[in-house]
């Protein structure tokens, strides 16, 4: 009965969880598309090496918020951010912040898998090249293999690295995109509904991958699928109409939420 010999503190599986340091600290964030306010007064602490899920109905701002964390919102003209976003204590909206460097630290995987119309090899090599991360071909090949393995797709593609990435199945493409993001060794991985276009088996593989990756990365995932949030995440944040209604340990949000609104949403009694 070795399992019984563990200290009781790790045996209780309630709300207590190993405390990890805060990785992303957001204080009072407001976000605007032109004159329209999309996020109001968001305050949340996202912990390292845990999976944090953002849930909420369509248009609640969860994806918008995710995109503020690597300043992806900057591609869209006319957006404005107020408040404070610190990653490892550093203000990512400070004038001195190098956005390109920020995105290298904060990787992103998108809802629709978007491999470049190039070979599998080149898809991963791209980030390494543009950032000048590898010195020679051998080192690059090593890094590519490593990241494909980390994304649990190496065995499926190792014999056809020169084939077009567009030949892969949807689930494989998405794992390739995860591998591509991992190749530049980010600290944080943002995932915007990474499995919403995939079938249940491919979805399960992505979820399992997320579970494995959290040992090495801080993961933030946006999902419109509550069950998925329940399965993969440690902490969950519920967004509604551009506000953060409630955030906390996932089992607490799904078993005994504090807010009536959250309860209505997770029980499907919304509207």
């Amino acid at each position: 009965m070795t399992t019984l010999l563990r200290p009781l503190s790790t045996m209780t599986s309630g709300t207590a969880r190993p405390a990890t340091p805060v990785k992303i600290d957001v204080q009072g964030m407001n976000f605007y598309y032109g004159a329209k306010q999309a996020l109001s007064d968001i305050t949340i602490a996202i912990h390292a090496n845990l999976v944090t899920a953002f849930i909420g109905p369509s248009g609640c701002g969860k994806s918008t918020f995710l995109r503020t964390l690597n300043r992806m919102n900057h591609i869209i003209p006319g957006t404005r951010v107020e408040g404070r976003v610190h990653i490892d204590g550093q203000d990512i909206y400070a004038a001195s912040t190098d956005v390109v460097g920020l995105r290298r630290r904060v990787g992103m995987v998108f809802q629709k898998s978007n491999p470049f119309p190039k070979s599998i090899f080149e898809n991963i090599a791209y980030g390494l090249r543009t950032n000048g991360l590898t010195k020679n071909r051998g080192e690059m090949e090593g890094r590519i293999e490593e990241s494909l393995k980390a994304a649990a797709i190496w065995d499926e593609v190792k014999d056809r690295l020169t084939e077009s990435a567009l030949m892969l199945s949807g689930g494989q493409q998405q794992r390739l995109c995860i591998a591509r993001a991992l190749a530049i060794q980010p600290e944080i991985l943002l995932m915007d509904e990474p499995a919403s276009a995939l079938d249940p088996i491919a979805t399960q593989r992505i979820e399992e991958l997320i579970y494995q990756l959290k040992a090495s990365y801080t993961i933030v995932i946006v999902t419109h699928n509550m069950q998925q949030a329940a399965r993969v995440s440690d902490n969950t944040a519920f967004f509604w109409l551009g506000r953060l209604v409630e955030s906390g340990a996932t089992e607490q949000i799904f078993t005994s939420p504090t807010e009536k609104l959250t309860e209505d949403y997770v029980t499907g009694r919304f509207g």
């Binding site: 978007n114 491999p115 119309p117 791209y126 543009t130 950032n131």
Partner: protein, 277 residues
Amino acid sequence: MAGDRLLQTMSILVLTLSLVALTALLYDIWSDGWSRLDWAFLTSMPSRRASSAGIYPAILGSLYVLLVTATFALPLGIGAAVYLEEYGGGGRIARLIEINIANLAGVPSIIYGLLGLGIFVRAFGWGPSILSGGATLGLLALPVVILSTREALRTVPMSAREGSYALGATKWQTIWHQVLPSALPGILTGLILAMSRAIGETAPLITIGALAYIDFTPSGVMSPFTVLPIQVYNWVSKPQVAFAENAAAGIIVLLVLLLSMNAVAIVLRDRFHKARV
């Protein structure tokens, strides 16, 4: 329902009419020129005697001019389009340029000829050369290239750009490595269509002083030159029937060139389209 059928009948009628007219025209040219078309016609110099005259310098002239036109219009057109689409950001300068390009596309070609005469031939001192001719036609092609390039850039999905940005690529890296390669088929299609417009142009080249009659092949970009449409124009204006036959044969060659360029554009678009899906 009755209105629908009426409209349909009318459409078919109009279509048939225009097709009949086109076929008649093509048949007329074909029957006039077919007998003159042979290898010697393609490889001979023009001559006072209609039976021994050829279009060799005109073909070469047309090809050289097109080459210069493409070299001129492609980088300038892509550069302008990238600026407007990716960097301009809808500012006042960008809007001003946009209006000018739209206007430029509607300007009669002879105006381009006058512009070319003033700038390339006189001010730059390039003379009535292939360079001047190509540059002038380049100006003519530019609006089309810019518009089609912008269109092609717009079709590059946001997801491709986001994918690149998310990997820590700069804006320029993203445009150069992802956006432009994806847009290339569209850009090339636009370029070829612009070229096929340019190949039929006569007026601007006559304006800048292209020759109607030359009995030498162009030696370089600074050489005087003639082009196919000018050659045809020249023959048509002669009273002898034999020259009219030459003109018809020249038109056939020009048509074949044009159609093959359009075919290349279609094949190009199709192939890239397939490769991407």
